[in-house]
Symmetry: C2
Amino acid sequence: MSGRVTLPIENGMDDEIRQIARLWGADAVRNSDGTKLPPITSELGAKVYETYFVGRGDNDWAAAHPQDRPQIFLMSQRCPALGEEPLRISVMDGYLDKQVEPDIQADLQRYWQVIDRTTGETLPSEKWSLTGKGADTQVCIAKPAAGHVYTVDFLAWQNWDPVQMYNYITNHWEDDPQRIREQPYDIRNPETWEYAQAHMDKWLKDHPHVDVVRFTTFFYQFTLVFNNREKEKMVDWFGYLGSVTKLALAEFESKYGYALTPEDFVDEGYYNSPFRLPRLPFLNWMEFLGEFVTERARIMVDKAHQSGKEAMMFLGDHWIGTEPYGDEFPSIGLDAVVGSVGSAATCRMISDIPGVKYHEGRFLPYFFPDVFFEGADPVPELEARWSQARRAIVRNPLDRMGYGGYLSLPVKFPKFVQRVSEITDEFRSLHEVSGGARPAVSTIKVAVLNAWGKKRSWMTSMVAHAKPYFQTYAYEGVLESLAGLPFTVSFINFDDVSRGALADVDVLINAGQANTAFSGGDYWAKPDISARIREFVAGGGGFIGVGQPSACFVEGSGAFFQLSDVLGVDQEVGWTLSTDRYVNVAESHFIIEGFDALEQRSRGRGLKEINVLEVESQLQPGREQALLDIGPGVGSIIPTGGQVLQFIDGSVDLSVHEYGKGRSVYFAGLPYNSVNSRLLHRAIYWAGHAEERLTENYFADRPEVEVAFYPEAHKAFVYNNSDTAQSVNVRGPKPFQVTLGARESRWETV
Amino acid sequence: MSGRVTLPIENGMDDEIRQIARLWGADAVRNSDGTKLPPITSELGAKVYETYFVGRGDNDWAAAHPQDRPQIFLMSQRCPALGEEPLRISVMDGYLDKQVEPDIQADLQRYWQVIDRTTGETLPSEKWSLTGKGADTQVCIAKPAAGHVYTVDFLAWQNWDPVQMYNYITNHWEDDPQRIREQPYDIRNPETWEYAQAHMDKWLKDHPHVDVVRFTTFFYQFTLVFNNREKEKMVDWFGYLGSVTKLALAEFESKYGYALTPEDFVDEGYYNSPFRLPRLPFLNWMEFLGEFVTERARIMVDKAHQSGKEAMMFLGDHWIGTEPYGDEFPSIGLDAVVGSVGSAATCRMISDIPGVKYHEGRFLPYFFPDVFFEGADPVPELEARWSQARRAIVRNPLDRMGYGGYLSLPVKFPKFVQRVSEITDEFRSLHEVSGGARPAVSTIKVAVLNAWGKKRSWMTSMVAHAKPYFQTYAYEGVLESLAGLPFTVSFINFDDVSRGALADVDVLINAGQANTAFSGGDYWAKPDISARIREFVAGGGGFIGVGQPSACFVEGSGAFFQLSDVLGVDQEVGWTLSTDRYVNVAESHFIIEGFDALEQRSRGRGLKEINVLEVESQLQPGREQALLDIGPGVGSIIPTGGQVLQFIDGSVDLSVHEYGKGRSVYFAGLPYNSVNSRLLHRAIYWAGHAEERLTENYFADRPEVEVAFYPEAHKAFVYNNSDTAQSVNVRGPKPFQVTLGARESRWETV
């Protein structure tokens, strides 16, 4: 088999390229950041991708146009005024002066902001002054209020492209005299925009052998700031921090009728993290920037098309402003999107993007020296990533897969090379054996509700791309599970709920930490939201809450989870410790049928009645053997009417509640693993009143094994997500048995 | 040795009484609820206490004066309106009709309140109506808003005294036809007050043999409500819920110029828990009731004095309104307070009470069948409680000790009887060997800061008396440790801070869960508070934060712990997940010197630098072996400048920070144990800049052993708090070595 696979190639390894291209069935080749396509390229008969950078790569242009460097709003450290006068704040403390430089010539009144964080008040500009420059820039506050804390929001120049910087540092390019630190430039100024277009025209003409222009990416890098030790200081894969210039701010003001302040970006130092409830100025900026990016990107894409090439966008790096799930995205006219696949959720984040002809996944591990070094074994990461991604590929297939980085690294690992060839074969089989059809899905329509909705489809609770975070993995697990489950999944926000979106939903999920955009924070103070959801559930709908669903302090409400009556649980925030809570852990329930660890659902006391206030035997830590792994947990979850299915350390981990004609389920956390994913799978069927249809599209009796059913092809794809062999009974229209090795998959005719 | 010990005695066991009185050195005897002093009493030569109940015990009076039953405001269950009209709310759902009865004849507009909890709005009384009575009482809301949740605050009669009820149920008095359910009566009405006084006069005359009137207690029971299965539904040892009558409410209104609403008591269903930030109407009610209780109690106490008896108050049961740490308390004129000793903190709560001649502790276990049943071993509880209480007795001695309940129960456990005799001897030695002096204390003045201050001295983070609660034990441990440490401890509130109280403080402690009265909640939004504490620390003061100190969402502040700059840590609430946090766990520090588990301070990564964002190896649970046990923990604590001493699972457990000339220490939690108490001990010396004085009053080199130094007597009392033998070096002016058996103590001459 061959096709659907893209290979990164480079100079000096022609024989290995030929061999690997054949072994992996590659039908496309690409270069990477810092490598060039080798002369052998033309003989391979493969489609040729070449990386194209719009806003970096020409340091001469950058040096000649310093006013076109992109800018960034940053905040100084928090400095208390402890008696000394004046208070001097060194704004660059903790920042890397190679990367950013305070813009001390900007209109300070407009682009700098000194804030008393103890009162929240902005200081009038006559109360402070500026001295020094570069790393020595200081703000002096003549008469600070004693005992108050001050910060400085300041506009800075970006002098080093953050991604090139990351590559430079990670690959030790400082040892290579050929390498330079690339300065970025912003294409908003007409002169630089003209230059960028002319550069593109010339490049297209000079690269007749290139079939696919791989934009890496367009104009604005996600937030990536380094500290003064050249280590990462802040990374927000969704961050718009680096999208600022004074020209853009001026254009924004004339379009929206108000000026953005530094604090609109700095946001108390939270920098409009996607976990913050989005504020209007930031949403306006996203819209404003998105229109600009979309329009300019379309011009670049058109040029590629006009020269007979395809245009592919890399979902990453300078992707800010493209918003693949925004309404404008299809208008860019891209042929393809390629993105890094680190998990099932990130895979669906790519494969579900509307408005392009095909989707390609760049698989992990990346061919970089941090994984491929002497003595390392890159195969376990390959296996784990593939097996996680496969769950998503089965549900909504990527059209192509590939790898990135430097091929000279993995060739030294023959077992790795061999295993990739098996994976590429398995990948192609999903397109070929299935006849190109998608597997059957349940008719249950699942919607994930948060403050972002569609725009952050499959991006919920993510910090940087597919990296596990201690505080979020128990929420990311919800999407990671859903990405491989046989349901139609949509993402809606609270405005959608107000507009009646629940009419098209069977099971609604709200998952996340309190006060974040993903649980919804203050949206839950709106009576219309909770009332609509109550009516939805009472009318027969399903509601699944994970972590701190509907959590919000609302004066007078008497609950922390505003839907505590729907969920049948609430969180003890310390105000009802005087109230006894009697818990009977249910002996059985549809959701928890068929698991090995079924008895591990209440510790120390078996299944008899427990009063939460009687906690002596609950003071020992540890919940390692529990059926549902809730991750770090969210505190003390108390029953308020729900039927408890797992209760450990005085806290409800899992419960169900019948509410009117509907049903709700509560999970205290849902890190991704096979058991948790299976619990969610069953919970959706239960909440959707569809228990009897659980096996409609085949269903393996162990959670480690999943099945995709292709009715037209009469095929079932059965795959083992675990690293141990599994023998399972598969229930469904034509039951069968199968034994699969570690991570093995098999096509069965049914 | 004999003296200082009170024995509960009863009929039918004269020989055992004689024997035990001698063995324990009892010089006073008492009866208990439901027992009478036996004829043998007079021959024992002991002081005689007798229990006196003011507001219960005469069911004939109660039956004849139903209008004088005490009342209570309760809240119905939360009921959603899910389409049905009218919405019917059965207000008594979950309550026990034997205990409480809706007052349906009260002015409903005034004493009942129907609230839409989705909007927080109170329904006008014309929008709802009342049907039924007793257990069948229903509120009908004719046209509820669909999807909204409603509750009913209602006034009810209290028909059964909650403490007698508890005794009745626990002792199975329903099997005893002699026993009746006692109805309480309120003494505010002139007629019942006259009756109560006359009853007292007669009782005093009829009880010439009684030396001490043991008031159990005065007029108002703490909140204790049972559910419809006769199990405890709600218990708040500090709760004023049962202190209401319509007459009292009317008098309040004429005195304060405004009427209290049911919701002023119901408080969204939180019922003014001491964990809530106290609101003005509740504070006014406490003041109003306190004045009344104090004045009437003084009259009763005067009567006892006039008949030549002492007056002793039991700190418990009907103690509401006495507030032993309030300014009015000494005016009652009591000779003594007796209270239940469950721990060191509850012991200090008794022994520190000002304005009485002596303090007596009623030790645990209580002689009740829940502990003394066939096959039980009551000795371990005795040992544990004594050893915990001893730490406090050493610092501020109780004058007397005793036991409660029924002596017929422990006589069946000879080992228990024997061990008590040793304990009573040890107790007396603390008065006798010391020559009556208190042990030396450090000159470091410690203050605990919360929203209650002095009024809740030693009562911080307590729910019911000395019971461990999963959500509070990590905070109660702070007081439990302090209660046995050689420091002067005071309790201050935020108003005290504004009034300059920090001038008299060396080390300030703020400990508790966010949004509670004990951490302080919204008080931290006041710039004056945080500014004063910053100046206090920067000027050389010490600050110790435990759990969520200074936690409060303040818009524009950019921090959750408002003193994050002082502490050097903050809590990640989900908004700065994009920020890298580099942690180096310190190799040594004064606070952590001399512990066995010193290396157990960061898991998986040794002591090298950790970036909080790189969490892969932190995803496994478990912190069992850590030096500091933080209890359930508070979430993700991130370093913001502090020096980290313990860091596990991506969260700071213990850290220190130099701030100006001062020092701060952070503990993520401090459940009481020997190691944690010792860590706090050292932390106070460090924060107080007094490291070199650590051994000034002797100091054992193992945390399990503590020393009290009596300079005038040239004695050191050395005691082992653990249940294993300990050999220790004791440092101090004249160092010595000592080996102690489990829980053993010894007097050394120094």
